[in-house]
Assembly symmetry: C2
Homo-oligomer: 206 residues x 2
């Protein structure tokens, strides 16, 4: 089929498939099937085949999927064949952990600029990157043509920082502040809220 109108919920599962395929490739595996992926991920094999069918025909009847090939196709579809430079706003404990996190590189992202407002943080260096004054963010984002940002500032400042990011040309924001932020329709936002996940689970406890 290979439509270019895949549902967002399907797009959201592609990174999960990509993660599993990357892992299998690292194990030296060459072929997998929707059945095997189903067992590994807890997603039905029919759904996996249907999801992939939105983007093309990647498998062979009777055989399954070539792992490296499907992995590369998913990378292409998700636009992570190349590495996206990422701006990180907020250099507290969380910002520090994110800047130090080694897992982004293999997934297509590299944090290339750190920002904070606290005078004692500005100028600090981490892995060759200096923490800059948040006021310099627009200049740096434009200079480096950064389109992706992570917000790790306190809730009270998140909307203001988001506004700044949007004005500077950022098109995708991963927001760790536990607050909903408003952005124009052409800017993507995703949220990370561990407390919300914990509450979701405690509903089922006791």
């Amino acid at each position: 089929m290979a439509s270019n109108e895949a549902p967002d919920i399907v797009v959201g599962r592609l990174p999960i498939y990509l993660r599993a395929l990357t892992f299998m490739a690292e194990e030296g595996r060459e072929i997998t099937s929707s059945q095997e992926l189903s067992e590994k991920l807890g997603i039905s094999s029919a759904q996996i085949r249907k999801d992939l069918s939105h983007f093309g025909e990647f498998g062979k009847q009777g055989t399954g999927y070539e792992i490296a090939y499907l992995r590369d196709q998913l990378k292409r579809i998700l636009h992570v064949e190349h590495t996206w430079p990422v701006a990180l706003a907020g250099y507290g404990d969380l910002g520090h952990a994110l800047a130090n996190y080694g897992g982004f590189a293999a997934k297509g992202f590299e944090i290339v600029a750190l920002f904070d407002t606290a005078p004692h943080k500005i100028g600090q260096e981490l892995a060759g990157k200096q923490v800059r004054d948040l006021a310099e963010l627009p200049t740096v984002v434009r200079e480096k043509n950064i389109k992706v940002a992570i917000v790790a500032v306190p809730s009270a400042e998140a909307q203001g920082v988001a506004n700044m990011l949007v004005e500077s040309g950022i098109k995708a924001i991963l927001n760790y502040a536990p607050i909903n932020i408003s952005v124009p329709a052409d800017v993507q936002v995703q949220y990370i809220d561990p407390a919300a996940h914990l509450q979701h689970m405690t509903y089922y406890l006791e």
Copy 2:
């Protein structure tokens, strides 16, 4: 209606409602409506009313919802009227950031025990909590009757740690390792994978 069989997708939105209500209460607000919540959260007012109706009747026709009352009801429904003690496995940068994070307390969670395997980390102290050897986890979890855990260890160790947690009586796991873990059906698992969120967004970029 107040059924006791609410869809999981509805349960997952309750923490979002609770977050907004808590924020409004802190602002000194007393009354809100499904319409106002809709605008703040980007969820339709009909859906908000429908979601809440699974659990009871919390509003007044013509008026709306009393913020503090609805907040307290959601806390009760999500079982976060009291604070859950939480075990944290993995004391790297991320573990450190989580242990230091001040946001959990108001949401119903308190990290009460830290675990790692690295000898130079064991014995370190943070906010009155000592980092313990992972081998002590079963004893501590049982002693303190901990039911909720956060996994912040490398992917390669995540399944092993999850097994240990399950055997020790943990019933809810928030997993930061970018890997799917297998647990018995009566154990809840939620995942946090920032790279997956970033890839979800870059699909729409360029």
